[in-house]
């Protein structure tokens, strides 16, 4: 498989993730889309790392995984507490900081 194929997949993943983050109204889906973006980043890192024969990309990919786990934990906790207050997690209706 040619090396730029991985990059193309990574790009596709990132665009899907970005679209999800910007368009989905449900906070859970937004969180999942953020995970997609992070996965895209990790994939690009690993792909370049392998293509250039440099192990540092792999190392950073592990960091990204740890970061993604932490982000998911905190993000979900926030979503849950928002749900407790608002009884819904529709981002369009959560605008307490407006104006």
């Amino acid at each position: 498989m040619p090396g730029h194929f991985y990059i193309l997949v990574s790009l596709a993943l990132f665009f899907i993730g970005t679209t999800g983050v910007l368009m989905r109204r449900n906070a859970l889906f937004v969180l999942m889309s953020v995970e997609l973006q992070l996965a895209a980043g990790s994939l690009a890192l690993v792909a370049f790392s392998r293509g250039l024969g440099d192990q540092r990309g792999h190392v950073v990919a592990f960091f990204v995984m740890a970061l993604a786990a932490a982000e998911a934990a905190i993000g979900l906790a926030i979503v849950v507490s928002i749900y407790r207050v608002n009884r819904k997690i529709d981002l369009a209706t959560i605008d307490e900081l407006r104006n």
Partner: protein
């Protein structure tokens, strides 16, 4: 002990500090003991220094105590140095001696006062500051003392601050003095600029030897003239001369011992002291001396006239003080410095005595000073009356009393002075004549005061009359001492003409003694002295006789007739010629108007509306604009973030500009050559548009191109660097001329 001059001002200052901090805890006995002992101790030190230390060194400039170098910067070095020479030593004695007496007097006078510690603390503060003023060897040290006495004066005038009038009188004194202080500072700065020093002895040396002070400054007048004039503005403020005298009569709002000590005997003479201290500078500027003398003479006459019509015991004495200070300024203004200081010395005794008598009388009369409600007190207050008689004869200039000698010395000098030169020779006789008038007035209003208060029937209410009593011993003792002083102080300077009768030659003791500090005394023909003595004796007796005719034993027919004949004049004099009202109209009202305009324009409009209002308006508008973006919708923020990130990436992805672009022209051939490290990667494409038609003439991956032009002219080449991977580009142009 000799070089320890520092303790003279320090002890009263320490006393003041202690009483302010801890005075409330102590009984009245402790309070007045601390205060009086502090001043008395510095009196003892002063006496010791003056009589045992000073005589040996008086020709070498006196006793010096360099306490510490105060501050230095650039050419300016100010030392905190004290010096006792003949002049400052004499003043020092007056201040500490009369200060001690007045502390003793206050023990009785203020016995019923609640705020006892505060009063004595302020008195001590005054003494300390005054001693610093007198002993200061550099102008800044003198200035601290100068300001310190002003502060103490302000605090003591407004001592009974619960009454609004007293507080305003304090403020008036302070503000009027500030005007004078401004003059003092300008004078000091001028002297520093001309001589490069603020040490008084150095300035005086410069005045005696160098030409630094005679150089013209403004309006063709010398530095010495302007410095002398500005210092005199300060002196006029402190010593209550026209036009700054208005504060002193109001200053009588303070307790009577304060009036005696500060506003009669010591502080108000600081201006005279200053002029005498800077005598060498004034000697270079006869015109400045003439101004001093004329202002002094006019003040002497003017204040005496106001004194005719005042009905408050202390007000009469206050205007008398203003008038006598005028005498002193004529003394120093005619370069007869020793005479001016002599009058300062004698005046301190008899005027302090008069004020303390006033206090004793008011004490007996239940606090009222209205002389129209007095009379016949001689029988009830025997000691006070005797002291008042002595001081009254002394100030009126009756022969053999101290005031006679000192006033005479001033008059002699005024008629005989030759300091002014030809253009101003008229000044001497003029001020001499004015002073004779003022002396007549002095004898008249002081005698009026005596006759109205002490002779004839008593005009007070029954109730008040029953309570008239002689004052306690602590008040009578200082009175008697001052009366003795008022008689004997004249011995310090018996005029040469009288000395001759006793087989002694040369100048008077005091004049000889002061010579190292203020210059050699004037040579005056003895015949002239006798003539002046005769005239002034006649003047004094006429004044007293006239007053007897008007007021002997109470108001008499001529007094009523005079008031009926010239009601306008009498009312005007009683209203102090309405100078306060004039100042209010001419100075205060325009000043208030000006302040109001500035307040409205600067404060209200510029600061409030434009500077502060402008920023709030800007913040308000910006807030309204930015609020629009603050939707609270996180996804909109993220979208903006994504767009921003894309823009940043796009900018970062543009090709970098080449390091160097060289254009080589040879005839009509132009070669463009660029140094671009990125060219070797092969992703960049370079296009060159030489003829300016918008389409590339040369293009390729190499960063150079050649073109041959058809004609000579001003040309421009447009270079486009394009990155084929990102489709980004940079465009640059170069211009050149073909010949």
């Amino acid at each position: 002990m000799l070089s320890q001059l520092r303790f003279i001002p320090l002890l009263p200052l320490l006393g003041a500090a202690y009483l302010i901090l801890f005075g409330r805890r102590h009984s009245k006995r402790v309070i007045h003991t601390v205060a009086t002992v502090a001043v008395f101790a510095s009196c003892v030190i002063s006496l010791d220094a003056f009589f045992f230390g000073l005589p040996q060194v008086v020709r070498e400039g006196g006793i010096i105590d360099a306490v510490f170098p105060w501050f230095a910067g650039g050419d300016l070095a100010v030392d905190f140095t004290l010096r006792m020479d003949a002049l400052s030593g004499l003043l020092c004695l007056v201040v500490t001696f009369i200060g001690t007496l007045i502390h003793v007097y206050s023990v009785g006078y203020m016995a019923h006062e609640k705020d006892y510690a505060r009063f004595f603390a302020y008195l001590n503060l005054f003494c300390g500051a005054m001693l610093m003023l007198v002993l200061g060897d550099t102008l800044p040290v003198v200035f601290i003392g100068w300001e310190g006495v002003g502060l103490a004066s302000y605090l003591l005038i407004g001592f009974w601050y619960q009454e609004n009038a007293n507080a305003s009188a304090g403020k008036k004194a302070f503000i009027t003095n500030r005007i004078g202080d401004f003059g003092f500072l300008i004078g000091m700065f001028l002297l520093f600029r001309a001589t490069g020093t603020v040490n008084i002895p150095d300035i005086l040396d410069a005045a005696k030897t160098g030409s630094a002070l005679t150089a013209p400054l403004w309006l063709g007048q010398s530095v010495a003239f302007w410095a002398g004039l500005f210092l005199f503005v300060g002196a006029a403020g402190k010593s209550a001369q026209i036009p700054l005298y208005v504060w002193l009569p109001d200053a009588m709002a303070g307790p009577t011992p304060v009036s005696a000590l500060i506003h009669a005997a010591t502080m108000v003479t600081a201006g005279v002291y200053l002029v005498a201290r800077m005598s060498a500078v004034y000697m270079l500027a006869p015109a400045a001396l003439a101004i001093v003398a004329i202002v002094g003479a006019l003040t002497a006459v003017f204040a005496a006239i106001i004194g005719f019509a005042q009905n408050d015991f202390k007000k009469v004495l206050a205007y008398s003080t203003v008038s006598q200070l005028g005498f002193m300024f004529v003394g120093v203004g005619t370069a007869n410095f020793a005479a001016g200081i002599f009058h300062l010395f004698t005046h301190a005794f008899f005027k302090a005595g008069l004020f303390l008598c006033a206090g004793s009388v008011m004490h007996a009369m239940g606090g009222s000073g209205d002389i129209t409600r007095m009379g016949g007190l001689a029988k009830r207050l025997p000691w006070t009356t005797r002291v008042f008689q002595v001081c009254w004869l002394a100030i009126s200039g009756v022969p053999l009393f101290s005031g006679f000698f000192s006033k005479d010395a001033i008059l002699d000098g005024a008629f005989a002075t030759e300091v002014y030169g030809h253009g101003l020779a008229w000044v001497g006789p003029l001020v001499g004549g004015l002073l004779l008038l003022a002396a007549l007035g002095t004898a008249f209003y002081m005698s009026r005061l005596y006759f109205l208060v002490f002779t004839g029937p008593c005009r007070a209410d029954e109730h008040v009359q029953q309570h008239i009593h002689e004052s306690p011993a602590s008040m009578v003792f200082p009175l008697v001492v001052l009366a003795v002083g008022a008689v004997l102080a004249g011995l310090a300077a018996i005029p040469p003409a009288i000395r001759e009768l006793f087989g002694k030659h040369g100048e008077s003791t005091l004049a000889t003694w002061l010579a190292p500090a203020v210059g050699e005394p004037m040579e005056i023909a003895h015949s002239a002295e006798w003539r002046v003595m005769g005239i002034s004796t006649v003047v004094a007796l006429v004044g007293i006789g006239l007053a007897y005719a008007f007021y002997g034993g109470g108001y008499r027919q001529p007094a009523h007739a005079f008031v009926q004949k010239m009601p306008g004049f009498v009312a005007l004099a009683r209203d102090k010629f309405r100078i306060d009202e004039l100042y209010a109209k001419v100075l205060l009202r325009p000043f208030r108007l000006f302040c109001n305009i500035v307040f409205q324009l600067v404060d209200r409009i510029l600061i409030d509306k434009i500077l502060i209002g402008g920023w709030t308006f800007l913040a308000d508008i910006l807030g309204r604009v930015f609020r629009f973006f603050q939707s609270g919708d996180i996804q909109r923020y993220l979208a903006a973030f994504a767009i921003g990130a894309a823009v940043v990436v796009w900018i970062a992805a543009r090709p970098t500009l080449p390091d160097d672009v060289r254009v080589k022209v040879e005839g009509r051939t132009v070669k463009v050559d660029m140094v671009d490290p990125d060219a070797s990667r092969g992703a960049l494409r370079y296009s060159f548009d030489f003829d300016g038609d918008g389409t590339p003439d040369r293009s390729g991956p190499t960063p150079s191109a050649t073109w041959i032009y058809g004609g000579v002219d001003h040309h421009e080449v447009t270079i486009t660097i394009e990155d084929s991977r990102w489709h980004t580009r940079r465009i640059l142009t170069r211009t050149f001329d073909l010949r």
